[in-house]
């Protein structure tokens, strides 16, 4: 190529600058570079000598900043090929005293704030194939972080990710960033050394993994005493290396994107980024296309997948503000549902404020069987998303306690399982106590008798007379149950002594049990127990139901869809 001479000459010039700059780097580092390319051999012998000293391959970072982006890019084309052929295995063996130049890596343990420092480091060390010295261990937001000064150590630590568990048996991830210099190290370095460090770090990257990341690394404004200078300096360094990054085989992907544009505008990009995850997210937001381009290339997590270190917090049970509030709320709920399940809901008039509001909403998430049960609630379903008519929106909101209780009284009789409820108390002030109740209930009368529904009921209450709560707002959300949930619902509100011998079930009763079993997902035995516990329902149900109507869709022959055809003499 026509440029090769130019490249060689430039390399020589830069190499000199490089050597002058870093002649104080005395410790030799071995590189796994193989000079297989004839181009390299054509180059300076000095260059090879320099390689003995530099952590990684040669880069023209010292080129004049006034050099135009365009030509730089072209010239690098040849450089690209050389590098690609070499496929450097960069091993940086560091035997230098702490505080001098090296490649620093920031190790992040997401949600590490949960763990004790010693415990965590021991855990990691036990699993890690190399011993490491954590520098500046601290907690940052919800994460635990520390620094290590070695690429291979960082790599070894990365391998530990997902192979260690905490006391809750949750996997611990380890996230490694070639970024950031420990503050104690920064303070000891002069600005130009800091700049070089930034360059080193970037060079130490496995570029094929995180090309974009290296460009937009956190430009730590603390890197230099004068933040502006520091930002400019590090940007300078990064800028020079942008084409390097691109040129490691991904030039094609950058078609249509002018890398120069990204570098020119200096200040906003760097100064607003506070940490790596914000960095990445911001990048993702700013340049969604980058994401796609990059995704296929990365062998490890994609740029998106850097989010792999983000985990959902563990789900927990009920939350009450305090023990006193817990008792208050549980007592309220017990009283409320005692009346609610009693068959006469007029007693609830005392629970509601005169101008209380109530509304109902349903969701068909959980399959056909729920649909048939929920169907009766459909006419009162208040889903603002679907319902645009202002008049109906108003109508469906029940207002005043009389209207509310009238409405509730018209709903099927129920049996709520208070033993398995979950309560979230999400707001309280002197005048207001707000909480949500999640649980299951069974309809114990009507067409869907025996069917189980899940509910989420949101209450906004205020202190009422006689130290009780007075309901101001009540929102009831209904849905079907997944099989899992029903099995955990024990229906112990009406405990009856359960004899080991099952009563003889009539054909209708067997069908009902089958129906309940099919709908609820409980096994047959369990369904029997369940219905048996509520014997009074059978005595009421059997004369009423002929043939038994269950919530499982019927086939044309009148059998329950999905249920086995009852054999004449079968034992249940």
């Amino acid at each position: 190529m026509g440029h090769s001479d130019q490249v060689v000459r430039r390399r020589a010039r830069c190499l000199d600058m490089y050597q002058r700059r870093f002649s104080n780097v005395s410790q030799p580092v071995s590189l796994g570079m193989h000079s297989s390319s004839h181009q390299q051999q054509d180059g300076d012998a000095a260059m090879q000598g320099a390689h003995m000293e530099s952590p990684v391959r040669y880069t023209p970072y010292a080129i004049s900043p006034f050099h135009r982006r365009g030509s730089f890019l072209k010239q690098d084309q040849t450089h690209v090929n050389m590098e690609r052929e070499q496929k450097p295995q960069r091993r940086v063996e560091v035997n230098r005293p702490h505080g001098t130049l090296g490649s620093w890596f920031k190790i992040t343990i997401p949600f590490g704030i949960k763990y004790d420092e010693k415990w965590l480091l021991n855990l990691i060390q036990n699993k890690c194939s190399v011993s490491f010295i954590p520098v500046e261990f601290h907690y940052e937001k919800m994460n635990a972080t520390f620094y290590v000064e070695n690429a291979s150590i960082a790599s070894a630590l990365k391998n530990v990710s997902g192979k260690i568990w905490d006391e809750d048996n949750e996997k611990i991830s380890i996230f490694v960033c070639p970024d950031g210099i420990p503050h104690s190290v920064q303070r000891e370095l002069k600005p130009e050394k800091v700049e070089q460090l930034a360059v080193n770090q970037q060079q130490a990257l496995d570029i094929q993994k995180l090309p974009i990341y290296s460009d937009f690394m956190t430009c730590d404004t603390k890197m230099a005493p004068n933040p502006r200078k520091g930002v400019a300096a590090s940007l300078h360094a990064h800028e020079e290396n942008i084409p390097k990054v691109m040129s490691s085989g991904e030039m094609d992907k950058w078609k249509g994107i002018e890398p120069g544009e990204k570098c020119v505008d200096r200040s906003p990009v760097c100064t607003t980024f506070l940490n790596n995850s914000s960095n990445i997210n911001s990048i993702l937001e700013l340049f969604p296309k980058l994401l796609c381009l990059d995704g296929q290339q990365s062998p490890g997590p994609t740029l998106c997948g850097l989010e792999a270190h983000k985990r959902l917090p563990t789900c927990k049970g009920s939350f009450f503000g305090s023990e006193m509030l817990k008792n208050l709320v549980l007592q309220f709920l017990q009283q409320y549902y005692l009346i609610y399940d009693s068959g006469d809901r007029r007693g609830l008039l005392g629970a509601y404020h005169n101008e209380a509001c109530f509304s109902l909403s349903i969701s068909f998430n959980h399959g056909d069987s729920a649909l048939s049960i929920l169907f009766k609630y459909f006419k009162d379903n208040r889903n603002i998303k679907m319902l645009q008519d202002p008049y109906l929106r108003g109508q469906l909101l029940k207002h005043t306690k009389r209207d509310i209780v009238d409405f509730l009284s018209a709903l099927p009789k129920t049996q709520h399982d208070l033993s398995s409820i979950l309560v979230d108390m999400w707001y309280q002030t002197e005048w207001m106590l707000c909480f949500s109740v999640n649980g299951v209930f069974k309809e114990v009368e009507g067409q869907s008798q025996g069917s189980v529904l899940a509910f989420t009921r949101t209450f906004i209450t205020t202190p009422g007379s006689s130290s009780s709560l007075c309901i101001l707002n009540d929102e009831l959300f209904l849905r079907g149950t997944s099989h899992q949930r029903t099995q955990s619902a024990l229906f112990t509100l009406v405990p009856t002594p359960f004899s080991s011998s099952m009563p003889a079930f009539s054909q209708e009763q067997k069908k009902m049990v089958k129906g309940f079993s099919a709908q609820s997902g409980m096994n047959f035995q369990c369904s029997q127990k369940c219905l048996h516990n509520n014997q009074q329902d059978y005595s009421r149900a059997v004369p009423v139901l002929a043939p038994p109507k269950v919530c499982v869709p019927m086939t044309e022959s009148g059998d329950l869809a999905g249920a086995e055809k009852p054999k004449p003499n079968s034992q249940s």
């Binding site: 997401p110 949600f111 937001k141 919800m142 906003p268 990009v269 607003t272 914000s278 997210n281 911001s282 937001e285 700013l286 989010e307 983000k310 985990r311 959902l312 917090p313 789900c315 927990k316 009920s318 939350f319 006193m324 404020h353 101008e355 509001c357 509304s359 909403s361 969701s363 889903n383 603002i384 998303k385 202002p390 929106r393 108003g394 109508q395 207002h399 209207d403 979230d424 108390m425 999400w426 707001y427 002030t429 002197e430 005048w431 207001m432 707000c434 999640n438 899940a454 989420t456 949101t458 906004i460 205020t462 202190p463 007379s465 101001l472 929102e475 959300f477 997944s482 949930r485 955990s488």
Partner: protein, 213 residues
């Protein structure tokens, strides 16, 4: 959180109106936006290299308090207020979930400084904690299937206009399976002479299958 003291307050006077479902009660007209069309203005800055700035749910200004001593004085009925609250809730929910999915960093701008979030039983209190929390949460894809809302009675809010918003749908967090969720918000109105800004005072979120995660 503040302590919850049981306080005996006299209930509001009973009205003499018949309580059939078709009657309309003059429900605290001072609290809700005027019956004129609510102008919903959503201020947001398009993605750029600048920091995110405004991310708000804004409606037209609330009317000045009106004397409610006379039952006939109010020309606005309860249903109209309900409708206004609904439209604010609708706009809010659209913005909230879009921000959560696409502009996560701006999400906390929708919260009051002292807002609290209960996320699957985890308590997150105050803007700083909320920022950290949403930062650490994987990227999300929300689909809201149900939305319901109610105006919150002023006795609870001490005349601070508040709306209860209840939502349900599905969410897929990056790296996790899809979950059905239930969520509710308390939205409070902060009035300025020119407009009303709605912010989240409280947020409660739960997977429907939280126990099996």
């Amino acid at each position: 959180m503040q302590k919850f003291h049981a306080k005996l307050s006299s209930p509001p006077p009973l009205t003499q109106l018949s309580l059939s479902s078709t009657s309309t009660l003059p429900y605290f007209p001072a609290l809700f936006p005027t019956p004129t069309a609510t102008r919903i203005a959503i201020k947001e800055i398009r993605p750029s290299r600048e920091r995110w700035t405004h991310q708000e749910v804004v409606t037209s200004p609330l009317p000045k308090p009106v004397a409610t001593s006379s039952l006939m004085a109010s020309s606005v009925d309860f249903k109209t207020y309900v409708d206004q609250a609904c439209r604010a809730a609708e706009e809010f929910v659209n913005i909230y979930y879009e921000t959560m999915d696409k502009r996560r960093r701006a999400l906390t701008r929708l919260y009051l400084d002292k807002a609290t979030l209960i996320w699957n039983g985890n308590v997150v209190s105050g803007l700083d904690a909320l920022n950290n929390f949403f930062d650490a949460l994987p990227s999300s894809e929300f689909q809201v299937n149900m939305l319901d809302c109610q105006p919150v009675h002023e006795q609870a809010t001490q005349s601070q206009t508040t709306v209860l918003v209840v939502t349900s749908g599905t969410v897929k967090f990056d790296g996790n399976k899809q979950h059905y969720f239930n969520q509710n918000f308390l939205l409070t109105a902060q009035s300025t002479p020119n407009n009303t800004v709605w912010k989240i005072a409280s947020d409660c979120f739960r997977f429907q299958d939280w126990a099996s995660t």
